[in-house]
């Protein structure tokens, strides 16, 4: 039992090291930076780490109050959080409004029943090398980035949901 556990642990380390190395070598800009190793603000303005979701499947979504497709993504993200919360999904929506008051105004009309975080400085978005708005980053239970989506398209939501299901089964 012990030897199997050690072997799989070593395999995991090798896999992670290889993927990081590949990420760095192939395209440092888009692969290496997104991670849960960042601090964002919570609703009270306190700095918290994204690592608090370690062990869960994390769907990180960057949004802003002025972004039309972001508005469309909220009902879907609410549905996903409700449906898969028990199985270990955590939807984390990071708001990038420079003026956080505008985000709260948005939320008062279209509430988000998932984890709400704020990054008005935009440094975490910069570290994630965002190419467009909205952008979502899917991390597996080990905190590895598995999937990136730029933009939100209602017609693609079945595919987005399938990706989440696959990771929840791991």
């Amino acid at each position: 039992m012990m030897s199997i556990g050690l072997f799989s642990h070593v395999r995991k380390i090798k896999f992670i090291a290889l993927s990081l190395a590949l990420g760095l070598s192939v395209n440092a800009q888009t692969q290496a930076a997104p991670s849960l190793e960042h601090h964002v603000l919570d609703q009270q303005g306190t700095s918290v780490s994204l690592q608090e979701f370690a062990g869960k499947v994390v769907y990180v979504d960057f949004w802003a109050s002025w972004c039309g497709p972001c508005r469309k993504s909220f009902p879907w993200m609410n549905a996903m959080q409700a449906k898969y919360q028990q199985q270990g999904l955590e939807v984390v929506a990071i708001n990038l409004d420079v003026d956080t008051a505008l985000a709260h105004e948005f939320l008062s009309k279209l509430p988000g029943h998932f984890t709400l975080r704020f990054n008005p400085e935009g440094d975490v978005a910069q570290a994630f090398e965002l190419q467009g708005m909205p952008s979502s980053f899917l991390f597996n239970r080990k905190g590895e980035l598995v999937q990136t989506h730029m933009g939100f398209f209602t017609e693609n939501t079945p595919a987005y949901e399938h990706e989440i299901q696959m990771l929840l089964q791991e």
Partner: protein, 432 residues
Amino acid sequence: MQLTPKQSIASALALASCSLLSQSASAADAIPANDDWKVDAAIMYYGEQDRVQATEAIGNVQKAFGDTSLLDMKIVVDSLTGASASGAVAQAESQTFTRPSGDGQYTVGAGETPLDDTFHDTRVQLSANWQEVLNQDWTGNVGVYGSSEFDYLSMGINAGLERSFNKNNTTLSLSGAFTNDVVDPVGGRPVAMSQMVLPGDYASDADYQAAFDQTRLAGDDTKQTTDIMFGVTQIINRNWLMQANYGLSSVSGYMTDPYKILSEVDSNGQTQAYRYENRPDSRLKQSVFLLTKGALDSGVVDFSYRYSTDDWDIQSHTLETHYRYYFSPSMYGQLHLRYYQQQAAEFYQPFLMSGDAIPEYASADYRIGDMTAYTIGLKFGQRLSGGHELSYRLEYYQQNPENNGTEIPGQLQNYDLFPAVKAIIAQVSYSF
């Protein structure tokens, strides 16, 4: 003291209402029940002093299908009445002209600029455009267009592609359009440069009718227009963006105005005859357009410049600016200024001299002569609940035609051959 979520939202809302309007209406208003539809409607009145009056109504509907497709449909109905300059020059005596149909004449008083008031026309235009986001970088669109009035039918297609670069900071676009027009003027197209016949010159109606028919060509004629435009849109910084377009347009076919004439005068400025104008059957235009638009704390401003040149020798410069100021988040005022300067077509001449050989192409239509024009306008807009907007604008448009260097003979010096055209534009729009 730590704010609970409820308290922080309340204070945040208070902050939002005090903040300068830096927020798009789409996020600040309640989310509309069905935000897939967007309707814009406007009705406009255009009135020149003593001349043309037009009323135009537009309805535009946009429907989004999913997150990648957009259908845009537009209907325009406009109705024209009043008189416009025929191209003939004023004289010391009253003048009589034959109407384009050949049935009837109209008389112009001594010293008056001849205006032809024959036209009461209604035009209907329909267009539809489909826009599709092809992938992250590419967007395409296709459209059709058609317009119809009693003497003119126009149908066209257009298509475009946009490619964005650099995180959507730069967009390149290429678009093309092809239009086919059918011209079927009242009374038929006049024979180029032929003389206008008047019933008074003929013994009988039959003789007059025969002579009139001699000045007309049977059937209709067509005109094809092919346009290409290449554009770059670049975001400069958080508040400013700019656009630059290069356009090329090739027109071939019937471009003469069948209702415009020229006076043939002698060295004393006395009119000897009237001749129907004629324009070349091909025209190649190029234009360069530059625009910059900026988001201000309390408004929006834009500046644009367009330079156009063509092989008819018409060159123009257009400078335009809009400045919008928000008095409150739901009310704005906007100033519009436009300056236009045009150099005459090479075949433009205010009249013909009877001693000279009749040119192949000639037109006295001031609209292709030397001209400067000014527009000053004010618009007020109100944002209503549910994302609706009501706006009204009032503009003053003055055209100042100028002599293109032609020497004015004899009695014509007593008249203003290049009278200013002054118009008022009033419009009400509603969108929801």
